[in-house]
Structure formats: C-alpha cells, structure tokens
C-alpha cells in the first residue's frame, strides 16, 4: 500500500454543502467498505446526487472531508481507481459503442481488454452500433461499460436503472452483481426500494442531507412487512 493511501474505498466525514439557502448535505457521515455494495437510498432531493458529485470531486464540499482510497477525489490517482455511471442527458450519438469504450479506456493506465468490457456490460453484437441507434437499456449498458472499462476498485452508480423496463433493469442488476462478486465495491444510489433490497449488502437511508439509518436490508426492514413500509416509517419519524 502506498503511503497516504487507504483501503477504505470512500469516506464522508461531516460533509456539508449548500446551494444558496438550500442545505443539500447537512453533515453527511458515510463509509463504503471494501467489497460491499452500499445502496444510498432516498427520495428525490434527499441529497443522493450531491453526495455522489462530492465523492467524484465534481463539487467542493462547504465543509467536512471526502476521501477516495484515502486521497482527494480530484486527484488523477483517485480517479484511476473509480468508475462512475452518472445521469447523463445525452452522449455523443454519432460515435460507435466500441469507439466510446476505446476512448474512455485510453484515460486509464490499466484498462480492461475491450472484449471483457463488452461482455461484462452485455453489449456483445452491438460493438459497431452508433450510440444514437441504441435502445434506452442498451445506452445505459454503454454507460456501465464506460464505468468499468478502467478496471476500477470502486464503482459509483447514480440511479442507473431510472427509466428502464423490468427486463433491462434486471439485466443491469446481473452485471452489477458480477462486478461486486469480483471483490470490488459499489455505491449505488436509488429510489427504488426493490433495487436496494435485491443488490445491497448494506443500505444507508438519506433524508434531508443526513444519513438517518444504516444497516443490512434486513436490519432496515426490522419488523415492517416490506422495506418500503420501513422506509416510509423512517421518513415520517425524522
């Protein structure tokens, strides 16, 4: 291990972020452990996307610390170990699937071989298609491919299955599970409770910029009949 590096994939310590008078994060404490899939669960506006953006070094926290493997998220060294799938409105549509992957792979020192990326993202047979010619589910899988092509140790998935039908959602779940099975970590934000329950080792419920409850999906569920009941009880209590 390098000096100053840590094997903790990501850590938020007392992170605050305001947008004008809106407090998006109000002292967020959260740790992503090695080899786990942590689901950050919250309603729209709870602070999920802000947390992700702070973790990726796209915004600067007002106060507090965000560390990626013990380093500054904005360092190229930290970013080398990260892969992210963000909610992108549009991707250049005239480039082909393999061209997008080729370009993104060139950003990383030790990328996965192209055929592995294509297989891991379920894009076999679509390599020569232009991005604009793909279905919604296929486009999401290309974004997933761009997130894993650098062979990251931590993957950030920001609401990866929004807008997908059941089949496409389950296909992506399968690819996410395969990634975690390799011993790597994932932070997955979602407002689909079923998604958190199906994938997560641990769930952190975020509400108005702080984590209100953390634990395994079973812990969170407690005595409630479903995770959804537990979630609604939690939000009403806080």
């Amino acid at each position: 291990m390098l000096w100053g590096m840590s094997n903790i994939p990501a850590q938020f310590t007392g992170v605050r972020k305001n947008y004008g008078t809106v407090e998006a994060l109000r002292g967020l404490d959260l740790t992503i452990r090695p080899g786990e899939l942590l689901s950050l669960l919250g309603a729209n506006g709870a602070g999920k996307t802000t947390a992700v953006r702070a973790l990726l070094g796209l915004i600067k926290p007002g106060s507090g610390r965000v560390e990626v493997f013990g380093g500054d998220p904005r360092d190229a060294r930290s970013r080398t170990r990260l892969g992210a799938m963000l909610q992108v409105a549009r991707v250049p549509e005239t480039l082909r699937v393999r061209e997008h992957i080729h370009l993104f792979s060139s950003y990383y020192p030790d990328p996965l071989p192209m055929p592995e990326v294509i297989a891991a993202a379920g894009l076999v047979g679509l390599e020569r298609r232009k991005f604009g010619e793909l279905s919604g589910g296929q486009q999401k899988r290309v974004l997933f491919a761009l997130a894993i092509c650098g062979n990251p140790d931590l993957m950030i998935l920001d609401e990866p299955t929004v807008g997908l039908d059941v089949e496409a959602r389950r296909a992506l779940w399968k690819q996410i599970r395969a990634f975690v099975a390799g011993g790597r970590s994932v932070l997955l934000t979602t407002h689909y409770l079923a998604e958190a329950e199906a994938l997560a080792d641990r769930v952190a419920v975020i509400h108005r910029g702080v984590v209100v409850k953390e634990g395994s999906p079973r812990d969170i569920k407690g005595d409630s009949a479903t995770l959804e009941d537990a979630f609604i009880d939690l939000l009403e209590a806080s």
Partner: protein
C-alpha cells in the same frame, strides 16, 4: 499523449458524421466571399489591392472566427449542458485533452476554410498570391483562431446549452461586420472605424491584410498584442466559468 490523439481523432469522426453541422461552418464564409468579392466586388479595389484579394483576408478571419466560436463554444456549451463533460471529468483524463482536441478541430476547420477561399479567389476572383504569401496568411489566420477559441470557451461556460447558438450568433455577426470583415473597414463610418480597434477580429484581419500590403498601416505588434490580451482575458473568463460549475449543481 495517446489520449490527446484519440480525443482529436474522435472529435474529427464526430464532425465527419454530422455534415449538417460541419458543412455550413465550412461553406458559409466561402459563399459570402463569392457574393461580396466575386459577384459584387469585381473590378473594385480596397486597401490598394483588388477587392477579391482584400476580402480573402477578411473572410478568412470570418471563417476562422466561426469555426472557433461554433465548433468550440457551442460544442462545449452543449456537452457541458448535457452532462457529458462532467462524465468525462470523473475519469483521470486530463481536462486539457478535451479542450486541446476541440481547439485542434477548430484549427483543422480554419485551415480548410482558408484554403477554400484561396482556391475560389484564384479561380473565380483573379487573386494572385505567391506561395510564401499564402502560407504566411494561412499561418496568421490559423494561429489567430486561438483568441476566438478562448472567446468560444468563455461563452460556452457562461451561457446555457440551449441559448448557446443564438448568443454566439449575436456576438459573431455584429463583431464580424464592425471589424470590417464583410465590407472593408474603410467603408464604415469614421466612428465605427475607431470602435473596431476594440474588436479582436479587426486585429486579426489587419495582420492578415498586412501580408498583401493592404492593412491600414498600424503596427503589427499592436494587432498581435491585442489578440494576446484578448486570448488571456477570454481564458480567464472561461476559467471563472469552469470554477463556478464546480460549486454549483445542474439538474
């Protein structure tokens, strides 16, 4: 290094696959040139040379400016607005690679536009430039595109993705006319001629006109200095916009 080359390569590929955006940028300056220089300018003079020769320099400036403002400025504004620039920023890619690739594209476009103008000028307008003169003019114009790339970048970071194209047009067209790119600067009223000193395209066109001895005789150092100051000013604005993005949230 490989990242830089691939960024440039795929910028080119994107441009080639979108001829509906690429062709107008390349052809507008040439069409305007044909209209003003070949059709209406034949037999006339400006700055002591043939109108068709004079306007090669000014429409060259016009084309270089358009390639930089649209390819660079509008391109950045759109990719930034769609979240694509942000997706790239999460990778270890050096952010400069993104800008260098876009700038290289603007320079490739600029070269094509200027060469098209030379060809049209020679075959239709009776323009006779020696090879060293043509090379010098091309070099000046392409180097000058840096200032307009910086302006495009500043606009790209200040304006929103949807308003980018109209706002760039609002800057581009008046600035071109007031700098004496459409009709020679001497044909503008005296007050506007003085005002042109504040406009970067005026300075680039005067440098290009200097190659054929048709400038107004101001010091080339003044023109070059104005372009450098412009480039620094616009880059600073662009950087401020870039930093502002870091503190803000979109979507």
């Amino acid at each position: 290094m490989r990242t830089y080359l691939l960024e440039i390569k795929y910028e080119l590929v994107k441009a080639l696959r979108m001829p509906q955006y690429t062709l107008p940028t390349l052809l507008f300056p040439v069409l305007f040139y044909v209209f003003f220089a070949v059709v209406f300018g034949s037999g006339r003079q400006a700055g002591g040379v043939k109108m068709a020769e004079y306007l090669v320099a000014t429409y060259g400036t016009f084309g270089v400016m358009g390639a930089a403002l649209f390819g660079f400025g509008v391109g950045v504004a759109i990719e930034r607005g769609q979240g694509w620039l942000e997706a790239k920023r999460t990778t270890p890619m050096p952010i400069q690679a993104y800008f260098v690739a876009k700038m290289a594209m603007a320079m490739v476009f600029s070269t094509i536009i200027v060469l098209l103008l030379f060809a049209v000028g020679m075959y239709c307008g009776g323009v006779s430039l020696t090879l060293p003169m043509a090379a010098q003019m091309l070099g000046i114009l392409v180097a000058g595109s840096v200032t307009f790339c910086a302006l495009g970048l500043a606009l790209g970071f200040i304006v929103g993705p949807n308003s980018a194209a109209p706002i760039v047009n609002l800057v581009y067209l008046p600035m071109a006319v007031l700098s004496g790119l459409w009709v020679p600067i001497q044909a503008l009223p005296r007050g506007l001629q003085d005002f042109a000193l504040w406009l970067p395209p005026y300075h680039l066109s005067q440098l290009a006109l200097g190659v054929i001895g048709a400038s107004r005789g101001e010091s080339p150092a003044l023109h070059a200095g104005a372009l450098v100051v412009g480039a620094l000013l616009f880059s600073t604005l662009a950087y401020a916009g870039f930093r502002r993005d870091e503190g803000k949230m979109y979507g």
